[in-house]
Amino acid sequence: MKKLIYLDNAATTPVESRVFAAMKPYFSLKYGNPSEFHLLGQEARKAVEESRRKIASFLGAKAEEIVFTSCASESINFSHKGLIEALRHFAPKSFTPHIITSAIEHKAVLETCQHLENSGLAKVTYLPVDQYGLVKVTDLEKAIQPNTILVSIMYVNNEVGTIQPIAEIGQLLKKVNEQKTKNHQPRTYFHTDATQAIQYLDCQVEKLGVDMLSLTGHKFYAPKGIGALYIKKGTPIRKQQDGGGQEMKLRSGTENVPYIVGLGEAIELISEVKDGQHQKLTELRERLITNILKIPEVYLTGHPQKRVPHIASFVIKGAEGESLILLLSDKKVIASSGSACTSQVLQPSHVLTAMGVAAEVSHGSVRFSLGKNTTIEEIDYVSQILPKIISRLREMAPQI
């Protein structure tokens, strides 16, 4: 049987063998509860804190600014709800916090914001994006109000790979906050969902100017079910999970020691190979894009330059995304689509819609996301079979 060509690394990645090896002892050998004072407990505690230090050093943060969670969705829920709740606690009833986010965020952000809005806990502004999926910093600046306490913009969009100007927004907010302090107004905090950025972009929190950053392990060769939230010291936050007071009283529940170890190992691996990967994947991605754009009526989605090395995304006129994915997978090529037919709610991708792509066009969306094991042969194979699959589906479709 032919080997799978896995081009869905933005959805998830396999667990790297070195990561798995590091995790293994913590299942049945070093299985202590880190809250216990005995030998076994302290052994586990040491591993947890070591992983925390690794993540902190990767982000240029302090260890006590890192909280382990189960995934980016949890980090996002926690950061947004936790901040609003903490601030509302002290604020007069009449004060309604304002959040600014963008229309192309991950559902974890959009749904959390909607929940806060529906519960009457916050007002939310959803910034539009341009045709490339970019947020305009000037739009953001205009949207800031005296009661704006949170700006949440994703670092990289997962569907189209566009990189947002996070550092620039960070600078803007720094200025805004200086002014706000002078005016005795509450500060605006800055959160970024860095899920797709960790592997390839500079994630030093100081440089980005963020107060909170969410990440998840399974996008960079750690297992599913482990993530982290960076919370800058001094940022108000109310825990969302009550109990035994683990994670500096911010997230109760016995620590998932093996997975935490895995996360630390995986993030350390990134720092070892970051630059080499970047170059190699950018070249492969460009090769794929050039090849695929030769097919008539196929268009690139996302920004042509400001995009992460691992994501190549397209819309294909006259072919539906789910069918494309099924036929590709018959050829052992694993990719993904944002077609309405692939969504549980049968809605076209909110990202493509926000970018102004018509529903009948986003119907044919397909995303290839590369990983460290992607080879030039694989890219060429995909470029070779895709035109045939597209013609087949186009032949099947009625002419309109």
Partner: protein
């Protein structure tokens, strides 16, 4: 790995998706209809050629489809054509979305609307045929 999608679709669905029956166009059809799914942007077009049996009863002599849509949309269009082909036109009424779905060994709940479309399409093609008959005017 051949069963890669058996969590979503039955074997039957995948068969009809991979090798659709009666896909294509009929030139000078007796009846034709295009239906679309406003929910997700899919399109199905059905063509029929009507024959008459010895008693003068009309039946589906030929049926073809063209579809732009998901795996379930393609499979249901293919299935519906095989279900009606050779049958009397009046029996098109019996080919409901459930019948189509069952013939495919079931469809995921979220995909039931695709079989609605196939069912609707065939009926509309029959209606289109009737509307062209002088006796119906």
């Amino acid at each position: 790995m051949d069963e890669l999608f058996n969590n979503l679709y039955s074997k039957k669905v995948m068969e009809h998706f991979r090798n659709p029956k009666n896909m294509g166009v009929i030139r000078n059809p007796d009846g034709v209809a295009t239906v679309g799914n406003p929910r997700c942007g899919d399109l199905m077009k059905f063509y029929i050629k009507v024959g008459k049996n010895k008693q003068g009863g009309e039946y589906f002599k030929e049926v073809k489809f063209q579809t732009l849509g998901c795996g379930a949309a393609i499979a249901t269009s293919s299935m519906v054509t095989t279900l009606v082909k050779g049958k009397p036109l009046i029996e098109a009424e019996n080919v409901t979305k459930q019948v189509i779905a069952e013939a495919l060994d079931g469809l995921p709940a979220v995909k039931m609307h695709c079989s609605v479309l196939a069912d609707e399409g065939i009926r509309k093609a029959v209606k289109n045929y009737y509307s062209k008959q002088p006796s119906q005017k």
